[in-house]
Symmetry: C2
Subunit: 338 residues, 2 copies
């Protein structure tokens, strides 16, 4: 199998230091792209990687460019949720539930499965209430409600909307291919945590897709407007894209004008409209903690964010259970080799 | 700083496969030792690594060899808890609370800090009760109660028992040095998640310490008996050493006669009394999920466990939120290069 070839030896991007020892370290790759394609790379940016939830801003494009978003009167909050990996707090789940009602549906239409809220306080409240997690709490419930909206707009059955052969996923797949410049017909494919198809893309293709969201000038008009609307919605509602205390939300709050999105297994992307750049990180071992540090460091090294704004993310302290600082995570080679 | 030298390029030990892509992969090292020292190595087994909680069986030795264990009438359940990273369920916390009472102490003497139970059902019940996590729920509360027992037995103040300059830690440090064959005076040092000192040891030294627990014949009599008692207690109470559903507990249940212990940041050790071997794994990136797979695979490759017994651990399926199998973790090179 092509994907099972020997893995690359990517550079160490992030170290976890405790006392005088590098306790753990994370290798990975960083791709920087303009709408024309890859312009800077650290590590192997050609190997297929699954973008996971970092692709949500792209997966939301058909919702807008099809006219479904306008037809159902959705606003920027719903768009932000469509591109979100939210924490399952009430301000997320209430909005998704209300959106489903607009579609004439309820949570039983969601095929993403249920998991407890990522937000610890929301999880505590849910447990204390004696209720079980529902699909609304799934971090992908906004994305899935976007898919349901598209199916309703197209007037087709919603059941099975997560399958690759459903018209909703066919539309999404075509948009991913166009935005990334990749042939998905030959790309390796898998199933995501929420049940939809995932496609192995070169990290450079993922960064290029983000650059085309950042600078959509050369896209067809409907997609251009859709891209601008999604990026603006994410920038306007960082708290809906993830949740309080999460790197994605906190970084957007401290880096105005830059849209960030994480994905499972160590993926992170940045969309930088001010200069039409897209940045994508994949940590080899799948560690989200390292992807957060690496994307923040990449933005600093590219001169897109001040060291001051990025400081809490580039060198986060490591606290032990009693709250004592016992180490730190440190970005060590992100774009230094370029 | 010596620990901040370039990290090794260790072999890939474990892959996470999803569809046709190796989505993430974990590099690391494996050391196999007899009481005489390292006998087999994959990757860099000389670099200092923090054993973290994998060292708990060694850290429990002074509790027994000092006579403190006998003086307070402790049994194998308390000993297992002293070497445990437990899940904070009632059958753990109740026993630790009762043990503290025997010492004339309560949970306020514990300096490990509080965190929610690792066991999701215990965490749910605690949240539902409206109570906050206490130091009893800390996975290290048994180890810390062991330290308190030693301080009481020595007739010295318990306060500050986590500090390197407290007589309890001085005793523990001396035992770690003797069991691992390492000079801790020059070893890099840090602070553990629960506040006690951690020492950077070569992985080979950690494996050797485990081999000396597995075959304590050449140790002084008091330590020999202490080692045998701790290993027997862990083997007798796998459910106290971790908790239901956790790899450590489940592997011990399926691999009778082998004692296993995980540590934070991707450390795992095995103690194999039947042949006097110790095995130690450190995953470079700190991933516990990979350490579990690698230690199980190492035991199979060494002929110490049947492939059948180890099957659920060597190749665990990856399920998505809806419960569908979407991939697997696979051990790829553990001891294959030896």
């Amino acid at each position: 199998m092509p994907g099972h070839s020997p893995p690359p030896t990517n550079p160490v991007l992030v170290e976890l230091r405790r006392g005088a020892v590098v306790e753990s370290f994370h290798r990975g790759a960083v791709a920087v792209a303009s709408p024309g394609g890859l312009i800077e790379a650290v590590g192997d940016c050609a190997r297929p990687v699954y973008p996971r939830s970092a692709l949500k801003p792209v997966q939301a494009l058909p919702l807008v460019e099809s006219g479904a978003c306008a037809a159902f009167g959705l606003g920027s909050e719903e768009l932000a949720l469509a591109a979100a990996s939210h924490s399952g707090a009430a301000h997320h789940t209430d909005r998704v539930a209300a959106w489903l009602i607009r579609l004439g549906l309820d949570q039983s239409a969601l095929e993403c499965g249920a998991h407890p809220p990522g937000d610890s306080e929301a999880a505590r409240l849910l447990a204390a209430s004696g209720r079980l997690p529902s699909p609304l709490h799934n971090n992908c419930s906004g994305k899935h409600t976007g898919f349901l909206t598209l199916a309703r707009h197209l007037g087709i059955p919603t059941a099975g909307y997560i399958r690759r052969d459903h018209p909703v996923q066919a539309l999404v797949e075509a948009v991913i291919a166009e935005m990334s410049g990749c042939d998905l017909g030959t790309a390796p494919c898998g199933i995501d945590g929420c049940g939809i198809p995932v496609f192995g893309l070169p990290l450079g293709g993922l960064a290029a897709a983000m650059a085309r969201l950042a600078d959509p000038a050369r896209l067809p008009p409907a997609r251009r407007m859709a891209a601008a609307a999604i990026v603006a919605a994410m920038a306007a509602h960082p708290e809906l894209v993830a949740g309080p205390g999460r790197a994605c939300t906190e970084m957007m709050a401290r880096m105005p004008g830059i849209v960030l999105k994480g994905g499972a297994e160590g993926v992170y992307v940045a969309i930088v409209p001010s200069c039409g750049l897209g940045v994508a990180v994949k940590i080899d071992d799948g560690a989200g903690r390292a992807a957060e540090v690496a994307i923040a460091a990449a933005l600093v090294r590219l001169g897109l964010v001040t060291a001051e704004a990025a400081a809490p993310f580039v060198r986060p302290p490591l606290l032990n259970v009693a709250g004592r600082t016992v180490g730190e995570m440190v970005a060590v080679e992100v774009l230094a080799a370029s």
